[in-house]
Amino acid sequence: MTRFKTLHILNKPPEHARYRLCLSAIGPQDGLLLTENGVLAITQPLAINKERCFALAPDLEARGLLSHVSSDQIASFDDMVDLTALAENVISW
């Protein structure tokens, strides 16, 4: 499981001011986990490497977006527990 310096958990849609704030705080060793309406960002080009960006499966599924994402970017709640436990720090935006 990936071990990030800071894991950013983002639950805001791309129009939200805090969405932009979050993206501007992501460092080179950080990871991004999209949850809730944050998963809508998956439909848009993201300025973060795909290897460091995940989206929560139930939220993708609810919004009809599961097929838009490659399988190694899809995170379950179990993955979310691992990601948050392993990261040095976590910021919830």
């Binding site: 800071t6 001011a17 705080a25 720090n89 919830s92």
Partner: protein, 116 residues
């Protein structure tokens, strides 16, 4: 353990910033190092000359002035947001320092949190 509390909501329109201030004050009460960062529309907390009497609220300017007394270590304002809202150093409350928001700043803290 050092904490950064971020206020990105403007004052008066919601209680979120006040509740963020309470978080900072509680950490300070227990001698935990804490700083406050204002960014986005939150920088409007920092403008001098507020008077909230007619909207029947307490002045966040006056509330915030208690932060150094209680031991909040630093009041920081994001450079870009200040520019965006036309705030220069002279417009800001005295103990505020302007800084650049980004991973270098947030990674200086063990714990970064919003109130809502």
């Amino acid at each position: 353990m050092s904490t950064l509390i971020i206020i990105d909501q403007p004052p008066y329109g919601s209680w979120e910033g006040r509740e963020a201030l309470d978080m900072a004050f509680s950490l300070a009460a227990f001698d935990q190092p804490v700083s406050l960062l204002f960014c986005g529309a939150g920088v409007n907390w920092l403008r001098k000359g507020q008077d909230a009497t007619t909207i029947q609220q307490k002045s966040v300017e006056r509330n915030l002035a208690a932060a150094p007394v209680f031991g909040v270590e630093a009041l920081l304002a994001d450079n870009k947001a200040c520019d965006h809202y036309g705030l220069t150093e002279e417009d800001l409350l005295d103990p505020v320092s302007i800084t650049d928001f980004g991973p270098e700043l947030t990674s200086r803290f063990d714990h970064v949190a919003f109130a809502g």
